[in-house]
Symmetry: C2
Subunit: 253 residues, 2 copies
Amino acid sequence: MSGRLSVIGLGPAGADMRTPEAEAALAAASDLFGYGPYLDRVSLRADQRAHASDNRVEGERARAALELAASGASVAMVTGGDPGVFAMAAAVCEEIEQGPEAWRALEVSFIPGITAMLAVAAKVGAPLGHDFCAISLSDNLKPWDLVLKRLTMAAQAGFVIALYNVRSKARPWQLGAAFEVLRAELPPTVPVIFGRAAGRADQAMVIVDLAQADAEIADMATCVIIGSPETRVIERPGLAPLVYSPRSVGGTG
Amino acid sequence: MSGRLSVIGLGPAGADMRTPEAEAALAAASDLFGYGPYLDRVSLRADQRAHASDNRVEGERARAALELAASGASVAMVTGGDPGVFAMAAAVCEEIEQGPEAWRALEVSFIPGITAMLAVAAKVGAPLGHDFCAISLSDNLKPWDLVLKRLTMAAQAGFVIALYNVRSKARPWQLGAAFEVLRAELPPTVPVIFGRAAGRADQAMVIVDLAQADAEIADMATCVIIGSPETRVIERPGLAPLVYSPRSVGGTG
């Protein structure tokens, strides 16, 4: 029997935001790998084994999963959101490229999920309704100067900007520095959305102007969306405002 | 009874890639609006009414749905992929902002879905594994010069680029022009993915170098992903290659 590995996106919250395709891939696995809190979201059968790991050992976790799959097991790697957006899919590909030749012969599949920026956007309206970009604010894996260059160019190009990995205990200052750079490029009234734990019980959506954006509002579970100069806020009596980016720009449409 | 409107992402394919949250919102609706082929993907009960429309009347469709919701109905607006990514969510917000005051008092919700670039990325590996952007190639709603500016700056900033609305009968030349501009900015070996109908029976994934990228490969159902200079292709004996963008860049990590 030849093994296989599925890299599965659980979405941002509970089973309500998880696709049947993801559920079927979870059910087909004998062994499930992942960061502990993501594995905790899955209900395992008695015949399924969990292999929980810490959140900063992606390479090690990917290698362990590939080794077990190569031995013939049906292995699942679970991630929050979508596996391909700042999650485990790239780490698995890196290890396949660098690992033993046998890993290239494995059946590997990637099961998409609702990534955080889509869940956050849906909770407040349609801030990603026009051209946008997604940037990881972590400087563990790229130089901070490159992050700043991308933020600056994204703002100058008129993209709405979704920020992932905005803050951790080891990276407390980066988000504030990002806001500083963006304030030099964008109008002070551009809406900023701090989207925490979208779809979960402890969800919190905070909408402020860029001028008032304070990095202290964010934590590890927060995805930050920074509007473009075109992004608008609709105030609604008795309801939360809607934030959206119009489909047309520059007077067309 | 006060009405409500749910703007629902059906995902890129069948029910297999649709969340339980989306299914529940569909089931709760008395009236469903949408572009005909998207409505055709939904199994309606006898007591549910379908209001199909053409694909270039977003504003009109949004107004009709809001009017019916304001009259007290439970209305669903269905879209392929995610409603917030180049789909109906922004059109609905535009009409709420410009429409009668009563529309601001409506209960409006947006239900996220798997957007095309995530589905295409998952089929080939992890091309969106590092910073990326999403650009609509349609110049119906923005000047073509702005599209070219964003393509150029996105390439210069090192983003992987996902292109939506790449081609239609009325817009046959834009994708070829986009490749021309990108060839001036990026190495000729950068991988380009033509991801057609991801997850559907007529799915087709084509991977070529930017130097060989031919707009004729694409049609209306195609999402195109253009790698960054860091994006890699892993050849696998007897299996389709994997395309991925490493998590680290610039020698870090």
